[in-house]
C-alpha cells in the first residue's frame, strides 16, 4: 500500500502563546493543566500517523478530543503549531498561501460537514459544480461532470431543487457529490452523517462504502460513533485529549485495546456489528469430494457425528450439501449393488455467506437457512469454512469462537449444534 498522507509530530495549540504551551506539553503537563495555568487550549498534541492510498481512515473520539482540529490541520484550515504534514510527497506546512490554494484544488475533494454546508442560494446542480467553478472549469464541462456525480449519489431529478426543499439525507448527498465532482483524491468528512437519523445514517454509510468501491478516494472520516467508525474504517485512530491512543483495524482495536481508555470505549460496542463471518467461522473438519462414493461419505459423516456434510470438488469449489438421513435411504435402496455412483439429486444447496458479512447479517442468513451449517465461501464459490449456530451465539456473548479450537473437539458450540438436530 502506498502512503498518501504522513503526519509527523503534529501539534495545534489555540491561544496567544502556543510555544509556551508546547513546552509545557513536552514537560509532561496535561491538557487540563495547560488550560488552567497557561490559558491555552491544546487541540492536537504531537500526533504521528500515516494514511494509505484509497483507505478510509477514521478519527474517533469523544467531543473535544481534537478530531475536527486534526482533520482541519490536514488541509491547513487550521495552521499547525508544530509538526509536518506530507501529502503525496509535498510538505504542505511549507506552502505559501497561493501554493496552498492550488494544492487544495488539486488534492482535496473539499470537505463534507455535519451540517452539510451547502449553499442555500444555489440549486443542487449549482452546488455540486461549485468546486469545479472555483477551478475555472468551463460551464458545459462542469455541468456534465456534476450531472454524472449527481446520478452516482442518487439525486437524479433533483438538479433544480434548492437545499431548503431537500431532506437531510439528500442534502448530505449534495455535500458528498460536491466533493466527488472535483477530480481530487483526498476526501475529508467531519461527522458527515451525525445529523441524520439512524436509518438514513446507516443507508448513507452503505452508500459511501459502495461509492468508495468505485471512486477509490482516500477518505479521512471523523466520527464520535464507534459503530460508525468500525463499519466504515479500514483503520481507526482513537483520540483522547488531542492525542492518538491507538491506531488499528476494528479487530485489532477490539481484540488488543492499547489502553484502558480504549478498552472502556470498545466494551460498550455492539460486537455483532463488528465481527464478520470470517471471524466466527470454523475451518472444515471434514468434507466430501465429488469423487467419493456414498458409503465413503456416510463414513465421514458418522465419524464426525454430523447430520450432513458439504461436498466440494478437488479445487474446494462448493458443490452442495448432503443430509445423512437421505444418504442412508439412498444406500438402502441400492443395497444389492456393489458400487453405487453418487446421485447428483442428493445434493442440496446450502446458504452461502461471504467472509466479510457482519455477524448481525449472518444471524439473519442463519435463521432463513433450512438445513445444516452456513457455508462461508469466497468470491469464486470456494469453501473457506462453516458457521454453526453455537459460533454465532458465542460471538454475541463476547467469546472468541472458531479458529483456535481444534477440529473434532466437542466445544459448547458444537454440542448446541447437535442438540438442534
Amino acid at each position: 500500500m502506498k502512503e498518501k498522507i504522513e503526519v509527523k509530530n503534529l501539534s495545534k495549540i489555540f491561544g496567544r502563546y502556543p510555544q509556551k504551551a508546547l513546552e509545557a506539553l513536552k514537560a509532561g503537563m496535561s491538557k487540563a493543566e495547560i488550560l488552567k495555568e497557561h490559558k491555552q487550549v491544546v487541540g492536537v498534541d504531537n500526533v504521528s500517523f500515516k494514511v494509505y492510498e484509497r483507505e478510509i481512515f477514521v478519527l474517533m473520539g469523544l467531543s473535544g478530543s481534537g478530531k475536527s482540529t486534526l482533520e482541519r490541520l490536514l488541509n491547513r484550515l487550521h495552521e499547525p503549531t508544530s509538526g509536518r504534514i506530507i501529502i503525496d510527497g509535498t510538505d504542505i506546512t511549507r506552502l505559501g498561501q497561493k501554493e496552498l490554494r492550488e494544492f487544495r484544488r488539486k488534492h482535496f475533494c473539499g470537505m463534507v460537514f455535519q451540517n452539510f454546508a451547502i449553499l442555500p442560494h444555489r440549486n443542487v446542480l449549482e452546488n455540486v459544480e461549485f468546486g469545479l467553478e472555483l477551478q475555472g472549469v468551463e460551464r458545459d464541462k462542469r455541468r456534465e461532470q456534476a450531472s454524472r456525480v449527481i446520478k452516482q449519489v442518487g439525486l437524479e431529478g433533483n438538479e433544480e431543487s434548492y437545499p431548503s426543499e431537500l431532506s437531510g439525507g439528500m442534502q448530505q448527498r449534495v455535500g458528498l457529490a460536491r466533493g466527488l465532482a472535483v477530480d481530487a483524491s483526498i476526501m475529508l468528512m467531519d461527522e458527515a452523517f451525525s445529523a441524520l437519523d439512524p436509518l438514513i445514517r446507516r443507508q448513507m454509510q452503505d452508500e459511501l462504502l459502495e461509492l468508495q468501491e468505485k471512486m477509490q478516494k482516500t477518505i479521512i472520516f471523523v466520527t464520535h460513533d464507534l459503530d460508525e467508525a468500525f463499519r466504515l474504517g479500514d483503520r481507526i485512530a482513537i483520540m483522547k485529549d488531542g492525542r492518538i491512543e491507538q491506531i488499528g483495524t476494528a479487530e485489532q482495536i477490539i481484540s488488543k485495546p492499547a489502553s484502558d481508555y480504549v478498552r472502556a470505549f470498545v466494551e460498550d460496542m455492539n460486537r455483532a456489528a463488528v465481527l464478520t463471518a470470517g471471524n466466527i467461522m470454523e475451518p472444515m473438519r471434514e468434507r466430501a469430494f465429488m469423487g467419493d462414493g456414498p458409503r465413503t461419505i456416510l463414513r465421514k459423516i458418522r465419524r464426525n457425528n454430523l447430520t450432513g456434510i458439504l461436498v466440494t470438488d478437488t479445487k474446494r469449489e462448493l458443490k452442495g450439501y448432503i443430509k445423512a438421513s437421505e444418504l442412508v435411504d439412498y444406500i438402502n435402496e441400492h443395497k444389492d449393488k456393489e458400487s453405487i455412483p453418487l446421485d447428483k439429486k442428493l445434493l442440496c444447496q446450502p446458504t452461502r455467506v461471504n467472509k466479510d458479512m457482519p455477524v448481525n447479517e449472518v444471524i439473519n442468513a442463519y435463521n432463513e437457512n433450512e438445513f445444516g451449517p452456513l457455508a462461508v465461501v469466497d468470491d469464486s464459490d470456494r469453501l473457506e469454512g462453516v458457521i454453526v449456530r453455537g459460533a454465532i451465539i458465542s460471538a454475541l456473548a463476547g467469546e472468541s469462537a472458531g479458529e483456535d479450537d481444534g477440529p473434532g473437539k466437542d466445544t459448547p458450540a458444537r454440542l448446541k449444534e447437535k442438540e438442534k438436530k
Binding site: R72, N75, L77, R101, E102, F103, R104, R105, F108, G110, M111, F113, N115, A117, L119, P120, H121, R122, F130, G131, E133, L134, Q135, Y162, S164, V182, L188
Partner: protein, 280 residues
C-alpha cells in the same frame, strides 16, 4: 458659579474645520454638487417626461413582481390618488431624491460594510462613528450640508445620504459575519480565493440581511424628506412643511399620506428583493 475656568471650544473647532474645508476645497464641493444635481434632476425630469399613467404602470408592475398582486393593486390606487390630489410632481421629486441618495448609500455603504466584516480593526474603528451618525439628531446634518452645498436639492441629498448610510453598513457587516463558518470553510477547502469566497459565498448568503439594510436605509431616507424640505430640497416634504406653517391640517395630511404610500411601495419592493431567490 463657574465650575471651569475655561470652556472646551468644540464649536469653534468644528466651525473652523468646516470653514477651512469650504474655503480650501470649494471647487471640489462645487463639482460634486453639480454632479449630484445633474443626477437627481435628470432622474426627476425623466420620470416627469413620461405620462403619469406610464410611470404608475411601471411601478405597479415592479411591485406586483416583487411583492404580489395585492401590493401591485395598492400602488396603482395609491399613485392614482397622488395624481388626483395634485401631488404627483412632488411625489416624483421626492422619489428622485430618495433613490439618488440610496444609490449613493449603496455605492459607499456596501464596500464599507464588506470591509468592516473582514477587518475587526476597521469594524471597531467605524462602529462608534456609525453610532454617532445614527444618534445625532437629523436636523444637525442640515447645517454642514448647507455650508458645503448651499440651499436646495443637493444638501437634501447629502443629508439624506449621511442619515441613511449607517444601517446599510451595519447590516452588510452583520450579514457577512453571520455566514456560517462551515460555508466559508467549505469554500476554503476547495481552494477558493478570497474574492471567490466573497462573491460566490459570503455576499449571496448574506443577501437577505444586506437587503434588509437597503430597506432600512431607504425608510430612514424617506423620514429625512420633510426635514430636507426645510433647506429647500423640494418634494412632498415642502407640502408637509407648508401645512405646518399655515396650520392647514388637510394639506398636511394629504402630503403625509403620499409619503406613507411611497414608503409602503419602496418597503415592499426592497423586502421582496431580499427573499426573491427562494421562490425562484
Amino acid at each position: 458659579m463657574i465650575m471651569f475656568p475655561f470652556r472646551i471650544p468644540i464649536k469653534d473647532w468644528i466651525s473652523a474645520a468646516v470653514d477651512f474645508l469650504v474655503s480650501e476645497l470649494g471647487a471640489v464641493f462645487d463639482g460634486f454638487s453639480a454632479f449630484i444635481f445633474f443626477l437627481v434632476n435628470n432622474l426627476k425630469d425623466g420620470m416627469l417626461f413620461v405620462h403619469p399613467l406610464v410611470l404608475i404602470a411601471l411601478i405597479a408592475f415592479i411591485t406586483w413582481r416583487m411583492a404580489g398582486w395585492q401590493i401591485g393593486l395598492f400602488s396603482v390606487l395609491g399613485l392614482l390618488i397622488t395624481e388626483n390630489i395634485g401631488l404627483w410632481v412632488s411625489f416624483v421629486e421626492t422619489l428622485a431624491l430618495v433613490l439618488t441618495a440610496e444609490v449613493l448609500v449603496m455605492i459607499v455603504g456596501l464596500p464599507l460594510g464588506i470591509y468592516a466584516a473582514r477587518s475587526d480593526r476597521f469594524n471597531s474603528f467605524i462602529r462608534p462613528i456609525l453610532d454617532f451618525m445614527q444618534t445625532m439628531p437629523a436636523f444637525v446634518y442640515l447645517i454642514p450640508a448647507v455650508m458645503f452645498f448651499g440651499l436646495g436639492l443637493v444638501p437634501g441629498v447629502v443629508a439624506t445620504f449621511v442619515f441613511a448610510l449607517p444601517p446599510l453598513i451595519r447590516l452588510t457587516n452583520l450579514g457577512i459575519r453571520q455566514v456560517p463558518k462551515e460555508l466559508t470553510e467549505a469554500a476554503d477547502a476547495f481552494g477558493a480565493t478570497n474574492m471567490q469566497k466573497l462573491f460566490k459565498v459570503q455576499i449571496p448568503v448574506a443577501k437577505p440581511t444586506i437587503m434588509a439594510g437597503v430597506n432600512q436605509s431607504i425608510m430612514l431616507g424617506l423620514s429625512m424628506v420633510v426635514i430636507a424640505a426645510m433647506i429647500g430640497a423640494g418634494g412632498v416634504g415642502t407640502n408637509v412643511l407648508r401645512g405646518i406653517q399655515r396650520l392647514q391640517v388637510g394639506e398636511g395630511f394629504e402630503a403625509g399620506l403620499v409619503i406613507v404610500i411611497m414608503a409602503i411601495i419602496l418597503d415592499r419592493i426592497t423586502a421582496g428583493l431580499g427573499q426573491r431567490k427562494k421562490a425562484g
